[in-house]
Symmetry: C2
Subunit: 423 residues, 2 copies
Amino acid sequence: MPNFQTVRGMRDLLAEEAAILNFVVGKARETAQLYGYKEVITPVVEPYELLSAKSGEEIRQRMFIFKDLGDRDVALRPEFTASIARLATTALKTEPKPLRVFSVGSVYRYDEPQRGRYREFWQSNFELMGSSNSEADAEAILLTNSLMKASGLQGYAFKIGNIGVIRGVLTQMNVDDKVQNAVLQRMDKKEYYEAFKLLDNEKCRTVLQGLLELKGGTPFETAEKITEYVAGYAEAEAAADNLLEILQLVTASGCPVRAVEPAFARGLEYYTGMIFEVNVPELDIALGGGGRYDRLIEVFGGEPTPAVGVAHGLDRVALALQTQKTELPAGRRKTAVVIPVKPELKAEALKIAQLLMEAGVSVEFEVMGRKMGKALEDADRRKVDYAVIVGERELKDDAVVVKDLVKREQSTMKIAELPEKIS
Amino acid sequence: MPNFQTVRGMRDLLAEEAAILNFVVGKARETAQLYGYKEVITPVVEPYELLSAKSGEEIRQRMFIFKDLGDRDVALRPEFTASIARLATTALKTEPKPLRVFSVGSVYRYDEPQRGRYREFWQSNFELMGSSNSEADAEAILLTNSLMKASGLQGYAFKIGNIGVIRGVLTQMNVDDKVQNAVLQRMDKKEYYEAFKLLDNEKCRTVLQGLLELKGGTPFETAEKITEYVAGYAEAEAAADNLLEILQLVTASGCPVRAVEPAFARGLEYYTGMIFEVNVPELDIALGGGGRYDRLIEVFGGEPTPAVGVAHGLDRVALALQTQKTELPAGRRKTAVVIPVKPELKAEALKIAQLLMEAGVSVEFEVMGRKMGKALEDADRRKVDYAVIVGERELKDDAVVVKDLVKREQSTMKIAELPEKIS
């Protein structure tokens, strides 16, 4: 017998897991509708050139890259942003701003598999293009809050920062962009010692060190400390003010913010302003995150356009819900089996099954040709609500026998009344 | 500016197209629930060994095959069946029969792009395992009928056959399986002359020719003619009886069958019994099709298990709906813009936006900081239902100004009453 495991890092989601993921996908789509984001569907397979234009080196090295049969360099999307940027600079180029775009689906990264991290995973992605205002930043956080809340997640909380604070300080101290990127990448991995080593200016290290030590206290206290600390560094001051304003906006709307962190960096080289993540205590890994990326459209050849985006790890949200033993909302259909007592009645029984399904009942038709007792026993084991038995005698009166398998009652019912009685 | 087109054969689905495809995907999922099929989610990237175990040479040559970074031979799934068979022989091995499994998602084939045929496309896939009875065959057709009907498709019709008729005749005339496969592949391409050339026995050609000429008349007449014609070819007779019985079952339940075709072959080498397709006049290409494949599980190392399956081309169904200018069912949310009259009121305005969204209203928050007139003009152009204007004076009375942009009326409303009034 051949060995047919899934590819390392990929997995099958069976009935219950699939249902939870679908539930979360549905909530993401609902959130998009509520916040006025239009859904687009972009390909899983994209030109390598497109995907590598935006991604940092780190993501590039973890992409599934190959040549198609036409010798084109292609890759599986590691995220949605590049595809959305393509649309924003082509098909959606003339759309008036603000432009709100939503996507959901599977993305692919060659990461070391661990709990909650797979090589195929599901994201919902929201991009808001055209606004540089703090309410746009707030929207990315608020919609994430709405999604987590609507999914029924408990105890999640946000961490917020603004990459412009550190960048503003470093820029004013003449640290060039490349070194800044390297410093931020180290900081994202919490390798602070390595990060500091990259700075050859002693004063610069001291200032940065002081900034990072500001964490602690309530988010508001931290945000205010940051504002005071960077006084005099104009760009950093503006970023700190922006961070404080966003914090005010989202907490006023009931968003649970756990921390404001000056050292928060979120690895990706491309953020230019606010950044955030959402976490639950049960998982080591963020459930979602995003931020402001004002160069997004420019990188893809479009007009400079301010933009905020967020991606949610939907299978991680699903995992968190499972870990929290969240019950999916019921709204479950009634279920029935339909059993013809003899083969000649199959056609009649199938018609009755159709009637029930049209009324919204989930019907398993008896396709095994089993004896009545066996079929009923099976229905019982499967916790089906009703058995509809199609027999010759009752059919003459346009009726069938209905067994209520929950109440363990049996009655004869007119076929015409069946849908209403059972659904 | 870089050239960032989609990869040849792949495409972006923008707002309206995405909405139609999502609508059809939703109907497929609903159909699965109604017929008692459990959804599973399997990876897009599968071991090449798995995907090639079942697919005929023709599909194998059109797969996207590559090596992952761990040097594994992998491919993008060209269909769902192999993945489902894997589950049936592993995780779902001990599940009682019948086993009904549903999947939906994108699949990949390197075909020459044409109208309705892309290299990335969407399928829903239903597999019913464990039953060799005609009601199981009928179920695959009936659920397809339910899906087409629920999608609002007009004028679709089924073509039904049974591959066992031709095979039964050829087997009894000692034509070996390989030649049979080759003959059927030619016939599927309507290359009858080429098909006949593969048979070196004159009598065999004559009998096959006679069988193929039986088409015409009503589906029932054709089915009966076939039954008569193959009298004496035991296997073929059984297949013809089965075909007639399935035809009776599905037409009794209101399925529009256009034709029974003895020459109908459906290319794939693996069908063993009933086969069918569903078409609309507007498209040259089938919207869905399937059949009985009793060796499915065996090929994957499991116990011999009778099985019927069907796959639907959901983006083709969506295209057919667009071609027929089908309106999606309304059920559209009310829409509103929320505009703070000055920046200091952003936080209050965001809270009001949250209230409305919690009541199901789709809200676009004014993130551009535009002047009132400009923002209202934009809302009007976008055909938004309401503008909610958050001003200082009204806020003192816990109220806002609401403009009904459809009726062109304006009123002051208590915030607490807003959700009910607008949703």
